[in-house]
């Protein structure tokens, strides 16, 4: 019995974001990571007749994404591969999965932050801007900027702890 489209869709929606984060650790580029995950799922679809022989589709997908990332790094310029490849294998397979799941939740929570707060949070944490400069650029007070960043951090941490306990406690 080959895997049905419905079953495939469940794998897809269930593992898509965490696999993107898994790939991101290898490739350090969101677009490329998404590309590899997409390719991996297309391959999975082509092999759907054999999927019932696979014990854990999730573990299979993680390994496939990893291999596809390594192929991509190998085929890219050698200089980039040295920069990007930084001892990922220090973690076990299970640890890598847990980390990707946790990061996928963080990613989703950033998606769900109110837009204004997300912008300010990213300016501070991603772009490394000082609160003073953000305040100047947005016309808010330094205090308000600080508040946005702290509350964003709080909500990411707080929600995540709950999720973490729910999954692992």
């Amino acid at each position: 019995m080959p895997t049905s489209k419905k079953q495939f869709s469940e794998y897809y929606h269930g593992y898509y974001r965490q696999l993107c984060l898994h790939a991101l650790h290898f490739l350090c580029d969101a677009d490329e990571a998404e590309d590899v995950v997409q390719d991996t799922f297309v391959n999975l679809w082509d092999k759907r007749d054999q999927l019932e022989k696979i014990k854990s589709v999730k573990a299979y997908l993680y390994t496939a994404v990893r291999n596809n990332c390594l192929t991509r790094i190998r085929d890219a310029k050698p200089t980039t591969s040295l920069d990007k490849w930084s001892g990922e294998e220090l973690l076990t397979g299970d640890e890598q999965m847990e980390r990707a799941e946790m990061e996928a939740r963080v990613w989703k929570m950033i998606d769900e932050l109110p837009e204004r707060r997300r912008e300010i949070f990213l300016m501070a944490k991603r772009d490394g801007m000082r609160y003073k400069d953000i305040a100047e650029q947005t016309g808010l007070t330094v205090k308000t900027v600080e508040n946005h960043v702290l509350r964003a951090m709080q909500s990411l941490r707080a929600k995540d702890i709950k999720a973490y306990l729910f999954f692992f406690a």
Binding site: H13, Y16, C20, V42, V106, W107, I110, D160, I161
Partner: protein, 273 residues
């Protein structure tokens, strides 16, 4: 050990933030993109199951469709209801009794064009490089997505979209209407009336009387209709495009209409010079 998860989370947040891009890693968006790689397969599979499960029915279907192949192309005429047929690109059609479908030899070369009469439902195989075009005596329907039904005779064309998006362009007035799932369009050539109905909104365009009726219509659609109807480019600020508008206009000029909308909704629509 207590602090371990917290430490990991902060590290995770740092990592995610470094590469975060809004609207990325969204499985629903990815799912739409992956369709073209897995959809054609699905059609083939369905047809295989269909044939093996009901060979007798399949035979009946073949008998109930008359087809003519000539040097110019192929024509199908359905002699019964619910007749299914697969086009060369593996798109599926289901024809009601009396429906006619024609395509010529160039089908699939630069586009996938069929002309039709009667009532036919389409499940179009996705191929963004080759647009699928259904032409009826009064309108042209360009397919950007998947499933829809068309009923057409010489005077009227009706379209209802089941899933995906199609572009419906009546012969006169020429307005390319983007129609999504749940929408129906009814076009009458003689009176040049186009009615578009979707859940919660509707509009009516009357080319002969030059009248327009909008009922809960999103501004981006209103502006699209106006700019084609009056043949002027109109600028609509992005953040105002999803506001909805209800009103009717008869033989008003475009400047008046734009003023009325701006006054009613406090918007900033402009006619470009």
């Amino acid at each position: 050990m207590e602090n371990q998860p917290q430490h990991n989370i902060d590290e995770g947040i740092r990592f995610v933030v470094r590469y975060y891009k809004p609207n990325s890693f969204d499985s629903r968006k990815g799912w739409r993109r992956i369709q073209k790689h897995i959809a054609p397969e699905r059609n083939v599979r369905k047809m295989q199951v269909f044939y093996s499960a009901a060979a007798a029915v399949a035979l009946l279907l073949v008998v109930s469709v008359f087809y003519f192949t000539s040097s110019t192309g192929t024509k199908w005429v359905a002699k019964a209801d619910n007749v299914s047929y697969v086009l060369p690109d593996s798109s599926r059609v289901e024809m009601q009794q009396g429906a006619q479908l024609k395509y010529d030899k160039s089908f699939g070369k630069s586009e996938r064009r069929v002309s039709m009469l009667g009532e036919i439902s389409f499940a179009v195989a996705r191929n963004e490089g080759l647009p699928f075009v259904v032409s009826t005596p009064g309108a042209e329907i360009q397919v950007l997505g998947t499933e829809f039904t068309v009923q057409a005779d010489n005077a009227e064309t009706r379209l209802s979209v089941v899933s995906g998006k199609v572009q419906f362009t009546p012969e006169s007035p020429v307005i390319p209407l983007l129609c999504s799932a749940g929408m129906t369009v009814h076009y009458t050539s003689g009176t040049e009336i186009v009615k578009v109905v979707s859940s919660g909104s509707s509009m009516e365009i009357n080319g002969k009387d030059s009248s327009l009726v909008f009922n809960n219509t999103q501004l981006k659609e209103v502006v699209l209709v106006l700019s084609h109807f009056y043949n002027v480019p109109i600028e609509l600020p992005g953040d105002e495009s999803t506001l909805t508008f209800t009103s009717s206009f008869t033989q008003k000029n475009i400047i008046e209409i734009v003023d009325i909308i701006n006054l009613t909704l406090d918007t900033h629509i402009k006619i470009e010079k």
